[in-house]
């Protein structure tokens, strides 16, 4: 910084502003840290009063998350083998034996399949549509773009009623394909709007040069425009992925078993006498961490993504 500037805040102002913002950030972070911490607590520590900030870490929550267990009865005691590994030991210590794997792994996998599947399709169709909207004279362009956006204004439950009936007719209820198609459609509005913004920023001259060099439109599109739009496509894809990953309303109404994703499943993890909080927290931690990482990676394009491209920094 050179010389005196009227717009540069003073040292004291900066210090004060920093203090307030950091305080807010720490407060806002507390619930998230609490989720992560609770995942490593034993069930007793998790529900102690007053809440324990310092505790002996335990992997019981994680073991409980991935297993189903049965209580050891008097009759079973003689026939039991000694625990073969660390997680059996943990389970045995709480007076139970492992009965089998839980459904969390499969629900998580469903989230991955449906998330990536719908993201791929939304990006594929979205890029094509965005390119056309950006470069060609599409009749009723503004109306179509608004129509695409307005599909996001409908409450999900309102959309779910006819979707439920439609899926029932087509046999798509509780299937991966049904959910992928649904999320693709919901994400399309986001991907078209965001990608149009990104493609608009690519100078026309590149394509014109390519066309003059004898490229066809298609070649110019995938050899010139696509590489230029790569960052935009990647960040749009992450936004679509996060939406599909987090979505709950459609998932809870249209899936129940084989295609159920993690968000409707995690709250149903129960132990003895209510929710098994360490297991819930463990499940939530595994589920939320990827999104936190993506958020940090995306921070430059965050604003653009959450406002459908309405605000660009």
């Amino acid at each position: 910084m050179s010389g005196y500037s009227v717009t540069e805040p003073s040292k004291r102002q900066k210090w004060f502003a920093g203090l307030l913002v950091i305080t807010y950030a720490l407060v806002t972070l507390m619930p998230l840290l609490w989720i992560i911490a609770t995942g490593f607590k034993s069930p007793e520590d998790a529900i102690s009063y007053p809440p324990k900030v310092l505790f002996e870490p335990s992997l019981e929550g994680y073991v409980n998350l991935f297993t189903t267990r049965t209580r050891i009865t008097e009759g079973m005691k003689e026939g039991l083998q000694p625990p073969a590994n660390w997680y059996e030991q943990i389970v045995r210590d709480s007076g139970t034996v492992i009965a089998g794997p839980s459904r969390y792994g499969q629900r998580f996998l469903n989230s991955v399949i449906i998330g990536f599947g719908s993201t791929f399709l939304a990006i594929f169709f979205g890029t094509l549509a965005a390119y056309a909207f950006s470069r060609f004279k599409v009749p009723l362009k503004d109306d179509l773009l608004f129509f695409i956006l307005s599909t996001r204004m409908m409450p999900p439950i309102a959309v779910a009623i006819p979707m439920f009936l439609m899926f029932r007719q087509l046999g798509l209820n509780d299937t991966h394909l049904g959910m992928i198609l649904l999320y693709t459609a919901v994400n399309l509005s986001l991907s078209v709007w965001l990608l149009k913004g990104f493609i608009d920023e690519i100078p026309l001259e590149y394509e014109e040069a390519a066309l003059i060099d004898g490229y066809t439109r298609f070649q110019a599109f995938y050899k010139v425009v696509l590489p230029q739009a790569a960052t935009g496509i990647a960040s749009t894809a992450i936004f679509c992925l996060i939406f599909a990953w987090n979505e709950y309303a459609f998932a809870v109404l249209l899936t129940s078993g084989s295609a159920q994703t993690a968000p409707p499943f995690i709250p149903t993890i129960i132990g003895v006498g209510g929710q098994d909080w360490p297991a819930v927290a463990a499940g939530a931690t595994i589920f939320l961490i990827p999104v936190m990482i993506f958020t940090i990676l995306l921070r430059k394009h965050l604003l653009r993504g959450i406002t459908f491209g309405a605000v660009r920094k």
């Binding site: 500037s5 009227v6 900066k14 502003a17 920093g18 913002v21 950030a25 806002t28 972070l29 619930p31 609490w34 009063y49 169709f125 979205g126 549509a129 056309a132 909207f133 060609f136 129509f147 695409i148 204004m153 409908m154 409450p155 999900p156 439950i157 309102a158 959309v159 009623i161 006819p162 979707m163 439920f164 439609m166 693709t184 078209v192 026309l204 014109e208 066309l211 004898g214 066809t216 439109r217 298609f218 990953w245 987090n246 709950y248 309303a249 109404l253 968000p263 409707p264 709250p267 819930v280 927290a281 939530a284 999104v291 936190m292 958020t295 940090i296 921070r299 604003l303 605000v311 920094k313």
Partner: protein, 314 residues
């Protein structure tokens, strides 16, 4: 803005070059590219919408196979005269007003402070933003744990600062506190959204304007109200639009937090709609309800966008 790139090429290059451009015409490509998206959106959004409108005039129940009768506007009449509907509208209005109020207030303040460009502001901004990207259902469910009397962190923190006994109140269980419990969590999640948009607004104001104001000896206070606020206002209004639409549709967070209770004190319209459609299976009735909600949000949003454009023009 120059027109179609093809026209520009045609003007800029000798005729020989134009003839070398092969492949489909632009018009064909445009339809080829836009077509799939439009078809998918028609199939998953417009067709269901039309179906919903059609169902809204019937007494159809999705869990029963019987003759479907058209009953005209009777569903609409029933909904608009049902006290439950108005109660859920009231709950939604309370939720909308206070979440937007707090988010605008705190979000703007945070953006203003971050714009002081203290060291490390990028890092802390990223940390503040985290809650808004997470799954509302999963996070909302965990908040029920934080809200538990005695063992919950929230109650304990309240006790620590105010001395009110942590086991003496239940945010989710009490009729007077439950509406605030959802406001608090939503504000925690979405304040960063308003903050980011305000920050973009603040950063869009050129320094030269403040320098000019300084030359005119305008006080800092005056600069804030006559420069900063009006310049950020369009951004702020946009943030309110987004939050308004999102919270009008609110379902996942609140359903996990309070399930609409206690009683029906936090039953927002989406939760009410879900009960009618998927618990009582009054499909026709729920369809009419959905249409009313959609018209409401669409109507309010259109009016608001008009106001927003007026502010932008100024």
């Amino acid at each position: 803005m120059p027109g179609n790139p093809m026209d520009r090429i045609a003007q800029a290059t000798p005729p020989g070059v134009g003839r070398r451009i092969r492949g489909f015409s632009d018009r064909t490509i445009a339809w080829l590219f836009v077509g799939p998206s439009i078809i998918l959106l028609l199939a998953v959004n417009i067709f269901p919408l039309i179906w919903t409108i059609n169902l809204s005039f019937t007494n159809f129940k999705a869990n029963r196979l019987r003759e479907v009768e058209y009953i005209g506007l009777r569903n609409y009449e029933r909904i608009l005269t049902d006290s439950d509907t108005w109660q859920s509208m009231q709950a939604t209005a309370h939720f909308l007003f206070w979440t937007i109020f707090f988010q605008v207030l705190i979000g703007f303040a945070l953006a203003y402070l971050i714009n002081k460009k203290f060291k490390g502001n990028d890092l802390w901004t990223t940390i503040i933003v985290l809650p808004m990207m997470l799954s509302p259902a999963v996070v909302g469910n965990f908040w029920t744990f934080l809200y538990q009397p005695q063992i919950g962190l929230f109650n304990y923190v309240v006790e620590f600062f105010s001395g009110v006994d942590a086991s003496s109140f239940s945010m989710i269980g009490s009729v007077s506190l439950a509406p605030w419990s959802i406001v608090i969590v939503d504000t925690w999640m979405w304040t960063p959204f308003v903050m980011l948009i305000c920050l973009a607004g603040l950063r869009s104001i050129p320094d030269s304007i403040y320098e000019a104001a300084e030359c005119d000896r305008a006080s800092k206070w005056r600069q804030f109200w006559t420069l900063t606020v009006p310049m950020v206002l369009p951004f702020l209004m946009l943030a309110v639009l987004f939050r308004g639409i999102e919270n009008f549709k609110m379902f996942d967070l609140v359903v996990q937090l309070t399930g609409g209770g206690p009683g029906s004190i936090t039953t927002l319209t989406s939760i009410d709609l879900k009960r009618e459609a998927f618990e009582k299976w009054r499909t026709g009735y729920a369809s009419a309800y959905a249409v009313i909600l959609f018209v409401t949000v669409f109507g309010l949003a259109s009016i608001y966008v008009k106001a927003l454009n007026k502010v932008k023009e100024r």
